[in-house]
Symmetry: C2
């Protein structure tokens, strides 16, 4: 089966928009064509997942399909963008129909959940890796960037931290756990729900935002650097799930939350006046620290002592 038939066959069930919803021309030409409503900008992000680095070389292709798109869509959430479309560059060592079918099913499910249409891509022969480029739209000037945090803002996260880091030893088969503990952690690792609705709700409210992929400490460092501020995190305030604490204990769970990767939860800074309204509306907003004048990220214990760890998060090299 040739490249073109392959793509057509296995991804035919994906929500391939041919028109409408911002997609003027979908799969099948040299380029896709996207249209933007007047006054909106296009948010673009590219993520690569490599077998053996970002996911186990042998894993469930359905779960991989879900995860590969969720990770990419999380960048749209962090900008407050409304999802439009994505391209998939799929590099495969060999073509196995069963693998492709299951991968496409997982991808398709996540695409529908996110409201993303597959508009193009490339299928190549080589070591297994996946590069997603996602597109969203956002009213001009309303995108959530990393550079707007101001002293006095609260530092917040959109959900529990550390679950994916807690799941990793289970994913890699290095550890076993009771189903009640393993299931929610594995679910978060394989299918982290991109916080797209939260990101859009934060437009005009959050002063800075990003999605946590390298660990809370490292990612807050990116906001601190881009905004020219200091971020002070509170160890006591980290939102930790019961499964994570059950597996790792309180100290281990805190370590996973601070320096583990792959959370894909939004971290954002928020003028305090917006907190009550967001929480009253039911948005998951957990205060984990505050923005101060200065630079860098520090961690304080309940007594206010500086207990900043030296290791800040996952470095890709």
């Amino acid at each position: 089966m040739g490249e073109f038939e392959l793509i057509r066959h296995y991804f035919a069930a994906a929500p391939c928009a041919q028109a409408g919803d911002g997609v003027a021309l979908g799969i099948g030409d040299d380029c896709a064509l996207l249209a933007l409503p007047a006054g909106e900008q296009l948010a673009v992000s590219t993520d690569t997942l490599v077998a053996g680095v970002h996911f186990p070389a042998v894993c469930d292709p359905f779960l991989l399909g879900q995860r590969s798109l969720a990770v990419a869509a999380s960048d749209l959430a962090a900008m407050g963008a409304t999802p439009v479309a994505f391209t998939l560059a799929l590099t495969l060592p060999t073509v196995h129909a069963d693998w492709l079918k299951a991968y496409a099913q997982g991808l398709n499910l996540m695409a529908r959940q996110c409201g993303l249409s597959l508009v193009g891509g490339d299928t190549t022969h080589g070591p297994l890796s996946l590069t997603m480029t996602v597109f969203g739209r956002v009213p001009a000037g309303q995108a959530l960037t990393r550079s707007g945090a101001r002293p006095g803002d609260l530092v917040c996260v959109g959900g529990e931290l550390g679950n994916a880091a807690g799941a990793l030893p289970l994913v890699l088969g290095e550890r076993e756990a009771a189903v009640a503990l393993a299931e929610p952690l594995l679910a978060h690792y394989w299918s982290p729900p991109p916080q797209l609705a939260l990101g859009q709700a934060l437009r005009g409210k959050a002063s800075a935002a990003l999605d946590i992929s390298d660990g809370l400490l490292a990612d807050c460092g990116h906001i601190a650097t881009a905004s020219g501020v200091s971020i002070v995190l509170s160890l006591e305030q980290l939102p930790l799930g019961t499964a994570l604490q059950g597996l790792l204990g309180l100290e281990g769970a805190r370590q996973a939350a601070l320096t583990g990767g792959d959370d894909y939860v939004i971290a954002f800074t928020l003028p305090p006046a917006h907190l009550a309204g967001l929480q009253a509306a039911g948005w998951p907003v957990h205060v984990v620290g505050r923005v101060e004048a200065g630079s860098g990220v520090s961690l304080r214990d309940h007594a206010g002592a500086d207990i900043t760890p030296r290791t800040r998060g996952y470095q890709h090299f």
Copy 2:
């Protein structure tokens, strides 16, 4: 050196627009932000190049930098789009400063030639591969697609065919050739100039277009299928370079032109009324066939006999 420092350091010289020219927000946040003038659409294309498949695992990184972006930009040319920006997903087995510096220099040079700004990407650890996603803008309704060819149109190409296929044995070290023959062929392989200006000039004139990546026969087949027409190519009319004929002889050169890949020359269909005007304006327009009612692609010799070969071009699997 971490991922972020690495990208900043080696790609700092790339034309990273921070504002203007359609780029509202460049590298450094979760997403880049692109703006479109009213009435224009965004053309998007993704291409992956894998070491050992699409280029030799050991090759000159400067040349690879040029080629990797040129190949992707060629899809913008084929749509008649004006280049705006690109993202680079770079997967590297190890970080070598010299390699990255030279790669970035080649990429940077091609980016400037094409008018493309680097707006984001991802750097990951793994087997060497490169995925480029390119963005261009085109007035709504004026993009050159594959589906508009009509019986009576001419089939044209924008330049010599087969040069990259002729170069491939030289690139792979499987063959040697005199410098006078090798140089122009290798230049075309490593730095195929995307026909961006030609593509824009064809807006409102060409009825269908694509860039030749899989060989003239295979790619004309894509136009024939998308347009619901038959394409009849003339063996005698193929534009063949002197170096290619010097290396392969006339028959070999024709074979390379018909079924070789990697030309990245635009093939397009053109109502005959537009031919003289384009040629008078100095555009490289070579007539290689005609569009008829029916389906498929066929090749005729000077006597009109059907000599269609069975092998149509490069299949990626």
